[in-house]
């Protein structure tokens, strides 16, 4: 098999020749580590300029062992939460002179993770992960610094960037209760030991705190996808009048969107025929009429912090804490009707 090279690049050797010095001298002025006489430095800089020399980062990585590259793995890029996290992380990495590799892990099976590992383990110094729901990745495999954004799995102990999940759904549920709701449904969430499970727990805590009995018929479990939301809402709307909820809590942005889709399909709107409160702010929640009450998370900041902690790790420092819990807040809007 023949491998053709596009064009011979200018190398450090060419620069050295042009400047009439040794390549080590060029390397020295480029990296500015060692002392070089002003005169030689000038000659070298001129040669670099004239030839338009650009360092070959691959060769540098080979010898230094540092790729200055980080892998970011997210379920997919069409989810605006992921987009924001990426945005924050990428900005920070760029500032710090790091480059971001990226990979979407939606529908990944064991074999895919194997490939992911093979392709990136030697290329990325560390890895920043936004886990899928459900999460099938084997983190133990990576013997590199790894930071998880938006997850909490108590059985392992990685560095994580989180928010208070239970507290969020508690606030959402409480908001409905305070507005006179008693028949409150929960759409999405799985009763496991992850962020999802915490959100379910928060809902249950709120009901308990206000002495409202749990009605299993009002809980529609499911993964955090749009489909869970739309089907869930359909199911709830079809409940007989006396059971049918007056308020609904959606566990995340996608399930919320699903709920709104189902409502739209029947010509209904959140805040009119039924009340809705959800985790995560997004376009639809923000600009719908009525706008939807949500828990807002500092998504961009979560990405930034994830990248920051990862770089701390890469630099051999020990971050202040394993779990970084970020602030989120309730944004009261008009989708919760006063009963």
């Amino acid at each position: 098999m023949e491998r053709e090279k596009i064009r011979k690049d200018i190398t450090i050797k060419d620069v050295a020749k042009r400047a009439g010095v040794a390549i080590s001298t060029v390397s020295r002025v480029l990296n500015g580590l060692d002392k070089v006489s002003p005169r030689t430095e000038k000659k070298v800089r001129e040669a670099v300029e004239e030839l338009g020399y650009v360092q070959n980062v691959l060769a540098v990585s080979m010898v230094t062992g540092q790729t200055k590259t980080v892998l970011m793995a997210v379920p997919d890029f069409t989810n605006d939460f992921n987009g924001s996290v990426i945005q924050g992380a990428e900005e920070y990495l760029k500032e710090q002179g790091y480059t971001m590799l990226i990979c979407s892990t939606k529908d990944f099976g064991e074999e895919d993770f194997e490939n992911l590992y093979r392709r990136f383990s030697k290329l990325a110094e560390g890895i920043l992960v936004v886990p899928a729901n459900p999460d099938r990745m084997d983190y133990g495999r990576w013997e590199k610094p790894l930071v998880l954004v938006d997850v909490y799995r108590p059985q392992e102990d990685y560095y994580t960037i989180e928010i208070d999940n239970a507290g969020g759904t508690f606030l959402l549920t409480e908001e409905l209760i305070k507005n006179g709701h008693r028949k409150i449904a929960l759409v999405g969430g799985l009763p496991d030991e992850t962020a999802s499970g915490q959100r379910v727990a928060g809902y249950l805590e709120a009901l308990k705190a206000y002495g409202i009995p749990v009605d299993k018929r009002l809980m529609v479990p499911g993964v955090h996808f749009e489909d869970t939301g739309s089907r869930g809402m359909e199911r709830l709307l079809d409940l007989p009048e006396e059971i049918r909820p007056t308020g609904v809590v959606a566990v995340n942005n996608l399930t919320c969107i699903g709920c709104m889709k189902a409502l739209a399909g029947r010509g209904m709107r959140a805040g009119r025929e039924i009340s809705l409160a959800a985790f995560d702010d997004h376009l639809l929640a923000r600009y719908s009429v009525p706008a939807v009450t949500v828990i807002e998370r500092p998504t961009i900041e979560m990405g930034r912090e994830g990248a920051r902690v990862l770089l701390e790790l890469l630099r051999g420092r020990r971050p202040e804490q394993k779990r970084l819990i970020m602030e989120s807040r309730l944004l009261k809007r008009d989708s919760v009707k006063r009963l």
Copy 2:
């Protein structure tokens, strides 16, 4: 307790020693290019397995000159159009054994592009760009295969993935006209020779085709950001009754969102107090009540096609055509009121 030294990575040399063969032999079975006896192959494979050897892609790139890596540059990751394009491109690249590097170019100045070039030119074999609006990037700099998604700049001739911009706004405007509208505004768009200018042109063509005089007061030019949309809509709503438009065309997703935001701020909705039709489908347009009439583009496919064309180029093949114009279509919904 004794601590282990930092584990040196397993290299091809270790595998060779373990299998009792030369490194070139290991390389041969790994790449399967040359003939190797079944017996040696077995020994090597076992050694690889036992040591958990993973190829160092950097070293491979060094010698082959191929990084199997592509850079994708987008304005930002929070825009869902960009997210979809990335999704499509990343999927295709992954299928083809390529890795994606990523960089957001929002607010990039000349110096930033310089850095972008220095950091990636030796790392990426090609580059896939979703240009910003306005677009400040100097494409000529990259002496590598380059594909532009969602742009058309007639003065240069790069490979591009486009849609019929003028046709899109024509359809949008026509839809309003057909529903009895005569005072039709345009929000966003700049009268230049890019996709943006084409969208303005389509609007003008439609008015002309139906014999409706152009009213400059109903045209609110601007870059394709949310702010342009919200301010534009505000301005239009404040126009005296006799001039005020009954229908509005927004040039893209962000300006449309801005328009809807402005409406929401006044408790108004598209399809009620005023009609709205816009370029690009998105969450808010889809699930609002009423839902917004839009031009839908095959965003994921645009990303895939961009990646495909780029790989064609990288493989030395000549893509069928310089400009690939993809199909888009009008999605009639309920934001255009029959007058």
